[in-house]
Subunit: 673 residues, 2 copies
């Protein structure tokens, strides 16, 4: 088992290897698309061959032509370039016109500039001195500015800077320096706007209690629970062969990490009675939208689109063995391009593990058999989890893909890390001061308000149920009335009314508790032996609807969250729900714009999109670090199999364990009563 995603490519969908990254970079430099010194490479990743080519390819055959997609910025010019790696030449290169820019995954390059600019910026030094603060202890937060249809900002590439104070704490987020703010024009390399709205009544929030590091905790610490571990004496049941993960005789899929999208699951196939059947051609988180809900001067713009503005893979965090992933996890390294396009090997950015959470796959106790026999059959549940964590400044997002033996895929997200708070004049609700309803959040510590915000995460789910041509079906659950006098004792019941979405307009779904539907992607040309179309069902769970006005610029940019479900015709360039060039974008290249083309989606290659959502009103428990909030949705076989696919699963028995582990006495002594 090779547990690394850094090896040379052996599959058409493999991410670029280190040598391919170097080769692509050379081509880009030779073509003067980037320079070795000061250009920024926002995306440098595999340009996937057409789906038909990938599907036709078989292991052992020569690989289809390898190409790289480069999104770059040099001298203010942004380009999208296809490099043919076999021929070592530029195949095409377009200058990006119009609104929107490349991601700040270029942070390494651009923040160096910002630090240099600000170090020499006298007003900032004076502001800090006035407050008695030292520049060396000041943390700079480079924030994407969103878009607010302000003519003076148009055509400029801006970074908005917030300043935190890190004196004696690594949790500088909890010590925001109030009233201090700078806008950097990255093209002109200067401070284009500077605000010092100093109010000596607003203190720097206190340091005490902010640090979350173990070494900073005053005793007594919490008493640890007894050792608990998931053990696999014979090792895992999955293999990782370069980019191909295979889990027993249940699932196989291609796994890679893109700088922008993070983990990408491709060609996920489930084993059914001797045959690997196609379920998911490609699945990944395609954009995140995190609007804060404080309209004041230094907060209104915080309407992050974290994936397009920062990058999920580029900001993937190293996973801590035993804490981020259990002891039986296997960790994968990845190679990703730096901001200058150089390959960087990053350790432990993905973990894969079998989860044994004590759940039950299926069970039944039979008590009504005519012979009076009591029968219990039960099967425990083990799933396969692929995890990454991306850290976008303050927040940490756990992104899980979980596969079940019965064909179900659960996509899970966890939100942890640090909230974004602001300093206030008022110490707490106990003090006189402004009304609570102008706080735009809740006190989480003295002089510190956690600001209200949302998280929306829109997944790209290119399901290919037994082939690329699929249909989206909404099955409405409709109340039916029984006419009086029909001789029926019920007045009502419900049944389903299924509708195949003909065009994209038919597949813009706002969920409703009182007018529920079930949602399917089916293969209309294939049925089970009973005539049911084979399909997978999208089972929504954690979600939220936007509360922004439709005409508010942040909502226009992030219009893809106005519905919870969409289905669109597959087009290779429609990758990211928020568009390709998201930084300061105007919302003219988003999922909702594509859907407005209203293309045919019946019996076509289609993509399903689902948005997980959370509204977050902070509470004191979120200080100084927040416990994980979780959400998920499921892709669940629905008449995909002829019957329960794990009927022939075997139960666990004591003998399975006795060779490896000491006996546990689970039989309980019967106390006399």
């Amino acid at each position: 088992m090779s547990c690394s995603l850094t090896a040379a490519h052996t599959h058409p969908l493999d991410q670029l290897s280190a040598s391919e990254l170097l080769a692509a970079r050379s081509v880009l430099i030779n073509a003067s698309i980037i320079s070795p010194t000061d250009a920024v490479v926002s995306i440098l990743e595999v340009d996937e061959p057409e789906k038909s080519v990938v599907k036709a390819w078989k292991p052992g055959q020569e690989l289809p032509s390898r190409k790289a997609l480069a999104v770059t910025r040099k001298d203010g010019i942004m380009r999208k370039t296809i490099v043919n790696l076999d021929k070592e030449m530029v195949e095409s290169s377009e200058v990006h016109e119009g609104a929107g820019g490349t991601a700040l995954s270029e942070l390494e390059v651009e923040v160096v500039r910002v630090r240099r600019i600000l170090a020499e910026y006298q007003p900032l030094q004076e502001s800090l001195a006035k407050r008695g603060l030292s520049y060396s202890e000041t943390a700079l937060l480079p924030l994407s500015p969103g878009w607010f249809d302000v003519s003076e900002d148009e055509g400029k590439r801006l970074i908005f800077m917030q300043f935190n104070y890190a004196n004696g704490t690594e949790n500088h987020f909890m010590r925001p320096i109030s009233g201090l703010f700078a806008v950097i024009d990255m093209d002109e390399e200067r401070v284009s706007k500077y605000v010092d709205d100093y109010d000596e009544d607003i203190p720097l929030p206190r340091r005490e209690g902010t640090d979350y590091r173990l070494e900073c905790q005053e005793p007594p610490l919490l008493k640890p629970l007894n050792i608990i571990s998931t053990e696999q004496p014979n090792g895992p049941s999955f293999t990782v062969d370069r980019h191909i993960v295979q889990w027993g005789s249940y699932w196989r899929f291609h796994l890679r990490m893109d700088g922008r999208a993070g983990t990408v699951i491709s060609m996920a196939e489930v084993f059914d009675d001797g045959v690997w059947r196609s379920v998911l051609y490609k699945g990944y988180l395609s954009e995140m939208f995190v609007p804060y809900q404080d309209p004041s001067d230094l907060w209104y713009f915080r309407t992050y689109m974290d994936e397009g503005e920062y990058g999920l893979g580029a900001n993937a965090s190293p996973l801590e063995p035993l804490n981020d992933c259990p002891r039986n996890a296997h960790f994968l390294d990845v190679v990703l391009p730096s901001a200058s396009g150089l390959p960087v090997v990053k350790s432990n950015r993905i973990c894969i593990f079998e989860r044994s959470a004590g759940d039950v796959t299926w069970r039944h106790t039979e008590t009504l058999a005519p012979d009076g026999k009591i029968i219990t059959e039960a099967r425990s549940k083990v799933t396969l989890v692929v995890r990454m964590v991306t850290t976008l400044g303050n927040y940490d997002y756990l992104l899980d893909w979980e596969f079940q033996t019965d064909g179900l895929i659960r996509v899970g997200v966890g939100l942890t890390g640090i909230i974004q708070p602001k300093a206030t004049k008022r110490r707490s609700l106990n003090d006189e001061g402004e009304l609570s309803d102008s706080l735009h959040g809740a006190f989480v510590s003295e002089n510190l308000v956690g600001v209200i915000h949302d998280h929306f995460m829109t997944y790209h789910l290119d399901l290919d149920i037994d082939g690329p041509k699929n249909s989206f079906v909404e099955s409405k659950l409709k109340r039916r009335y029984i006419p009086p006098g029909a001789g029926i004792r019920r007045k009502s019941y419900w049944d389903t009314e299924s509708r195949v979405a003909q065009t994209e307009a038919d597949a813009r779904i706002q969920l409703s508790l009182t007018q529920p539907s079930e949602f399917f992607v089916i293969n209309p040309e294939k049925t089970t032996r009973l005539g049911n179309p084979v399909g997978y069902r999208l089972v929504p769970s954690a979600t939220a609807a936007t509360l922004l006005d439709p005409d508010d610029p942040p909502q226009i940019r992030a219009d893809f969250i106005k519905k919870q479900i969409w289905a669109t015709q597959y087009h290779k360039e429609e990758k990211y729900a928020g568009g390709e060039f998201v930084y300061q974008s105007h919302g003219d290249d988003t999922l909702s714009v594509w859907s407005n083309k209203n293309r045919n989606i019946a019996n076509e290659d289609i993509v399903l999109w689902y948005t997980i959502g959370f509204h977050h009103v902070p509470v004191q428990e979120d200080f100084p670090i927040m416990s994980t909030i979780s959400g998920s949705f499921e892709l669940k076989p629905a008449n995909f199999f002829e019957n329960n696919p794990v009927l022939k699963m075997q139960p666990s028995s004591a003998a399975d364990f006795s060779a490896y582990f000491p006996e546990i006495d689970t039989k309980i002594e019967q106390k006399s009563t």
Copy 2:
């Protein structure tokens, strides 16, 4: 650690011990409330002392007076009796007037009668002979009849009988005998209605593929995954001292099993900085409603209220070690009354285990520190799960209470077991036949349709946040508009508008995606140091709204599911959302009726009610046994703690494990690229 709930009582809330059950039964027999031979005891359980008495009691003190609550039926008379166990006398005994009867937990007694009646019932024998079927292989399904305002049924105690065929399969549910149906009048001990609507075109659905037992599976079986086990070499971190469960220095609570409600969690307290603080005085599943959605003659009445009609504890299944609960689980026996009131020790009806699912309590990677240092702190997650399984005929329900170290309680349900199908003339959708939309379900096998239905589970949650006097708060998330010309670049944002529910009418909540709220139970007389009221938040997740007409009799009976959340004033007798006497009830003693009293609930002892809901349209994967469908909701601290209560938690380190387990090499070999 005593792992049994059968021991003599040592706490005022303990369930009746075997000797107490015997004593109570003697008193009831002596008072001629039941007879030793043919009475039925539906409920015989502890009658809890007043909350103030329980709370005032301290371990070591003399126990408050022990009383038993008996709900019984003899000669058609139903009674609710309080037995004083100390004085061995009846304290009060009321005859139940009005609609509604006792549960079929009396199945053991009543079904014996039914079998006797039907064995001698010649028309049934003839019907079976006509079909070539044998009575000895016929499974009798005693179904509660619901209520449909039919005068001829009024005042009678009826059981509706369906007949399945168990020839060569233990899964007789998949072989329903079509057209055959009987109604038994249990008072008159006779068949009051018999239907043989024989249609020779409707076959007995085939046996092949129905059995789920391991021994019946044809090879090849599914290849097992490698051994995986949750190991705790030093044992668990919880103790069970009679009925008191304590989990490290995180949680303690009282646990028992009632015949009707199943597991009851009482006096759950969380440890906070040296003090045990009250969270949940009492929590349990208070009723289930499972309406089927086929209005035809033999199906319209299937509108089960499984808890009040059958009993969750009475039908608790023995848990299979290693399959229903993991290897590190500890199993508890319980003692429950039989239908004649005799104590029966039932093994392995509850399991308790620490879950180590590979989740993360909290984490953060810091990348923006001014000194450029990268810091990662992560803490793994272990939770405590209390599980039971109740099997109500075909369905098996997993009922979990899960406790987190950070104060969160997750209430989880799992639905597995067998669906209720019906036989059809039509073999499959491929055949000519009636239209699909009159199937009221979907083909799951040849000549077999899984019928559409719902599951609603209403939890009773008597939260006592730092004391009994609490308030229910709805915090609406409201869109706010910014007037043009205000000099603000946003057009909108949202904030919260909190409202303390003054009366029960203010606390009838229909959830809405587009008009969201957060819901809290707070202690209005206690705030954090920052002035936030201490509270817990109800975090809804899996739910569903009823699709029945409000005037449909099943909906009238189960009107408590018309809202997802309710809060009511605490009254001891308002235990079960569907009322005390549910069998054939008319809906005149339900949560919605109590709520209509519109009592004051601000700064009162209040009870919160939440309904988990599922709509279920069967699919072929549900045949012959269905994989678990899960749902949950959370009770989450919200300004209950002054800050994250697990900030001082310690990370796991390799050294913690090395003494117990072989080393796992999680470091990955770096392939050259």
